[in-house]
Amino acid sequence: MQNTAYNVEYKPRTGSEAMCEALLDEGVEHLFGYPGGAIMPFYDALPDYPLKHILVRHEQAAAHAADGYARATGRVGVCVATSGPGATNLVTGLATAQMDSVPLVAVTGQVGRPAMGKDSFQETNVTGMTLPFTKHSFLVEDPDELYPTMRRAFEIARSGRPGPVLVDVPKDVQFAACEHNGYRRLREAPQPLEGPAFEAAATLLRKAKRPLILAGHGVTLSGAEMELRLLAERTGTPVVTTLLGISAFPEDHPLYIGWPGMHGAASVNRAIDRSDLLFAVGMRFDDRITGAVEKFAPNAKVVHIDVDPSELGKVVRPTVGIAADARGAIRGILAHLEEAEESDGCAEWRAEIVKSQEPEKRREADAKGEYGPIRIMAAIKAAAGEEVRLVTDVGQHQMWAAKFFEFTKKNSHITSGGLGTMGFALPAAMGVAFAYPDEPVWVVAGDGGIQMNLQELATIRDFGLNIKVAILNNGYLGMVRQWQQFFHNRRYSETPITGPDYEQFAASYGLAGRTINPGEDIEEAVGWAQEQEGCAILDFHIDPEANVYPMIPSGMSVHEMIEEDGA
């Protein structure tokens, strides 16, 4: 039998070699990991293969880095860890990927088969532990099953609704000889769909007076950005994105109006409230978007397109539900809109939205003239240029970045949306930087989250990654503090937080760093960071009690929205 990738004769080889061959045959170039006892045979085989391993400083970072790589490239990210604590440290990263439908394959070592079930050193049931937040998991006990299982893991990870897959391999299986290379594709790729639902969706769009397109992460995952734009332009429909859908549609496009939900734009929330048609594609009506579901979009019919059929009707009952990949579905609908012109009233609808945006735009323009988060976002965009990819952590800064950094490049906004994982940004940015070493990558993080994976500065330094880091340092766990301010009578319980002097901390890793205090020149500092070779860290000290507006209290509706001017 021939190895299709290397055209060499197959010989009896070890399980570890079969694992490496499967990775190569899947086109893997980078894997992020951390060795340990139970995965040593794999690491012993690894140097013989053209696979680039990135040694992180914590397994959680390996999972996030693989996640960032996958989000940026659309390919399957790979992380590797040993058994026991190595495997448990991956858990947060796997859950993060599962919530945001990111294709990952996690390879873990397991204690040898004779030692399993005996509470052996570094033994843990990682397949059981990760059941709730992996798309699938394998414990491979037959060496001959190793290669096909690895291949199948990739297929599962990227097919349909993507997600993480775990492959747990006992140490003796990695050592064992395995001869067979049987692998066959078990599931066919989905076929292009046709059906009355496409025409029905097109008809609804054509007839709607106040339509909105609500685009989510599924648009990016299926590469449907062009189709989405065509659909919006052909029908004159304003476009709203979810948090993870940001950068699926260019924000400088006149039809883009922002993103909705708990901290989304007030004008967008009101537009959804007034809309008579929500054309939702590749999104799942997360509770951060809907708030009180019974009051969400009360006047709207709903077209819901999602590759995962179980999402249809899960939260919002669709008028037309289409279980299909976003790109295929939009193409199918466009076929029924070839002669379409926008419906009567759509121009008035857009004018109404533009008018409702005016107060927000005035506030934003004013804020850009002052020292603070909004100006920092504008400065980064101006200095880094159109090609920049922005990776954010979780908290207030994430909302400011999502609202005020103008994303014009597709798939340039990377963040942990569903799980909201603090500590995500720095390691995820490593994955992005490995995927696109010649393109600018910026991290925006808070002073809480950045400290959760700060050890990865060593990895960044070792590989000379050109990642610029902006820390919005308010000395608090800012979003929690904001909630305490509004809903817990300003009892700032355990939210004030300290950290290192980031300038000195960066220097201790041999990296450039600067502290920027209120009143100092933001643009100059960002420009300085941009000029540094490799990683640079900017520690922006900002107003400790700056808030993110608007704010819809959890479980409430647009009618209970708290706005900056007290409305």
């Binding site: 397949t127 059981g128 059941l131 709730p132 798309k135 699938h136 998991s137 414990l139 599962i156 349909g160 609704r161 995962d308 059929p309 179980s310 249809l312 009707g313 899960k314």
Partner: protein, 159 residues
């Protein structure tokens, strides 16, 4: 054995599935029930015939059929689930010791079919779960041994 309390809702929707993957598949299935807060009123699992390593599971969901269909779709997305369907109806089987005319008559009145292995011997009773629940509850016979085999959608091929 005392009969269980009858489910509060009468909208039990049966879903039958064929699983590969052994114990891990069952584990993953139960975890999915929990994760998605599925209203599982009953869960029966057994081998899908002796010739295969697969399992056949039947669940009764206490929710409207449309919701049950969405859950079936979700479960159908699991890699271990080889076949799944929302079944038209379901059947519960119970074994009782000591038959007799009175038992047969009460079963017939409740819409339960019975079969005696020998006169006065063990009785195999089958019927829809709600009828079975009501019939077993009506027996008021604390002395009788009853073994409930759980709801199944179809007998299968010997499994």
């Amino acid at each position: 054995m005392a009969p269980r309390t009858a489910p509060a809702s009468a909208t039990l929707t049966p879903i039958e599935m064929r699983l590969g993957g052994g114990m891990l598949a069952i584990n993953r299935l139960v975890m999915t029930f929990m994760n998605k807060r599925m209203p599982v009123a009953s869960f029966t699992v057994g081998r899908d015939g002796w010739r295969t390593g697969a399992l056949r599971a039947t669940i009764l969901l206490d929710c409207p059929e449309e919701t049950a269909r969405r859950y079936a779709t979700l479960l159908g997305g699991l890699e271990d689930v080889e076949e799944i369907e929302v079944a038209e109806g379901t059947l519960e089987v119970a074994l009782l010791d000591g038959g007799g005319d009175a038992l047969r008559e009460s079963a017939g009145a409740a819409g339960i079919k019975t079969h005696e292995t020998e006169p006065g011997g063990a009785v195999v009773a089958s019927g829809d779960p709600e009828s079975m629940e009501g019939w077993l509850g009506s027996l008021e016979d604390g002395e009788r041994d009853i073994i409930r085999l759980g709801p199944v959608v179809r007998p299968g091929d010997g499994g």
